[in-house]
């Protein structure tokens, strides 16, 4: 009952009484424009309430519209992200196809250019062991692949077939420790044996001390090993070291980027005469 006792709420009561009398006064007094003050006050108060209410409704409506728009934007965003992902995938596929087309085109040009019977093959796997630098191609004995067939790419020599199966073959890369190819310096005709190091460089051995070799010289196959046809590019001399008149170390950078091979040609039947003619043309 204490709450109902007006004496407990003196401040509120005082305010109410004062306000009531102010309203009473306002009802009797007119402003300079002739409108009753109460009307002006009430209108002003109501107008303020309307203004606040309109503001609240407007703000709420705007926020709601923004929220709804945000939901739509979120949906659009997700859809667009998905589309972008699909398009990026499609673009990658297109790029891959274009690259494949370029590779095949280069391979086809090589095939037309060299006087050899070749079998085109795609690289389907890399080497299984880091100690052996090999790769696997998708052609095997069924397609006429045999062991010790030379494998070349548009840029140069890749290696040789070491283990053919029915529908695939393992290729030993030039850079393998056990790989070797008879080579000669294209400019000076100095001969030697190019061997793999297991890393991404080759070494040319057995080069006579009197041979004229320089950094930057191109090294090509000599064809005397009976595996690699003559005249194919092996690589470029990167460094030369001499010791007591002899060449102690000649480092050759492979011409082919062996880690990025996609397609190769397997030389199935060397045409020695044509190859020799081609080599003679080069010499001339």
């Amino acid at each position: 009952m204490a709450l109902l006792d007006i004496r407990q709420r003196t401040g509120w009561l005082f305010t109410a009484v004062v306000l009531a009398q102010l309203v009473l006064i306002s009802a009797q007094v007119t402003t300079r424009t002739g409108v009753p003050m109460l009307e002006v006050a009430v209108f002003g108060a109501v107008a303020e309430i309307q203004r606040v209410a309109t503001g609240v409704i407007s703000t709420t409506s705007d926020r709601w519209q923004q929220y709804v728009s945000l939901q739509d934007v979120r949906g659009d965003n997700e859809r667009l992200r998905s589309e972008i992902g699909e398009l990026q995938l499609q673009l990658q596929q297109e790029r891959a196809l274009a690259q494949e087309a370029r590779t095949l085109q280069a391979l086809l040009q090589l095939k037309k250019a060299i006087p050899l019977t070749t079998i085109s093959a795609a690289v389907i796997a890399g080497g299984a062991s880091p100690d052996f630098r090999t790769l696997t191609i998708d052609k095997g004995t069924r397609q006429g692949i045999q062991g010790d067939m030379a494998v070349v790419a548009p840029a140069g020599v890749v290696g040789r077939v070491i283990t053919p199966s029915l529908r695939a073959a393992k290729v030993q890369l030039l850079i393998d420790r056990n790989a070797a190819v008879a080579g000669l310096v294209e400019r000076s005709r100095a001969q030697g044996v190019v061997v793999g190091t297991g890393e991404n460089r080759l070494e040319m051995e057995y080069v006579p001390g009197t041979a004229d070799i320089r950094v930057g010289d191109r090294v090509v196959t000599s064809g005397i090993d009976g595996i690699y046809p003559k005249g194919f590019l092996i690589g470029q001399i990167e460094s030369v070291q001499r010791g007591a008149g002899d060449y102690t170390k000649v480092v050759v950078k492979p011409a082919v980027e062996l880690s990025a091979l996609e397609a190769v040609l397997v030389v199935s039947s060397p045409q020695q005469s044509k190859t020799e003619d081609r080599e003679n043309e080069v010499v001339e």
Partner: protein
């Protein structure tokens, strides 16, 4: 009982005020008995009683006059409330504090009353300071007398009753 006493006091004050209407100084009555009654009730009964008494008395006074109804009511409401609040917080039983209270209440009432009319632009007051000063003095005297009479009346009646008792 108290409410009835307050209503009677207010009615008496209004009735007496109408008879003293001729005593005008500076366009304002020399005393405001209704205001005196309000301040008296406020000091003796507290802010709520002072506020309600001021409100009712002021409205009645306004209704009986030709002014805007509510101006006097508002002024007396505020004065009654503040006088009651001060009377509750401080000891206002001595003569001087009561005198000060009546003077201050009259000043505040005049300020509110005239200020409201001035703001509303309904009425203007000539030489208000003289009028307010005169009314403050008049109200203070009447108020002090009222306190003396009302507080001394029971004792006087008792003494008279005792003096009429036959001696054995």
């Amino acid at each position: 009982m108290k409410v009835a006493g307050v209503l009677i006091a207010v009615a008496l004050a209004i009735a007496m005020q109408t008879t003293l209407d001729r005593l005008v100084v500076g366009g304002t009555a020399a005393v405001d008995l209704v205001l005196v009654a309000v301040v008296y009730v406020a000091l003796t009964m507290g802010p709520v009683a002072g506020m309600l008494t001021g409100s009712v008395a002021g409205l009645l006074q306004d209704a009986l006059s030709s002014g805007v109804i509510g101006v006097g009511g508002l002024a007396k409401t505020v004065v009654g409330f503040l006088a009651g609040a001060i009377g509750q917080q401080f000891i206002v039983t001595a003569a001087v504090p009561r005198l000060v209270m009546f003077v201050a209440a009259t000043g505040l009432h005049s300020l509110l009353f005239m200020g409201l009319y001035q703001v509303l632009g309904v009425r203007s007051f000539v030489s208000p300071l003289t009028a307010v000063g005169t009314q403050s003095l008049g109200n203070a005297i009447i108020g002090m007398l009222s306190f003396s009479v009302i507080e001394g009346l029971p004792g006087a009646m008792e003494r008279r009753r005792l003096s009429r008792r036959p001696r054995l």
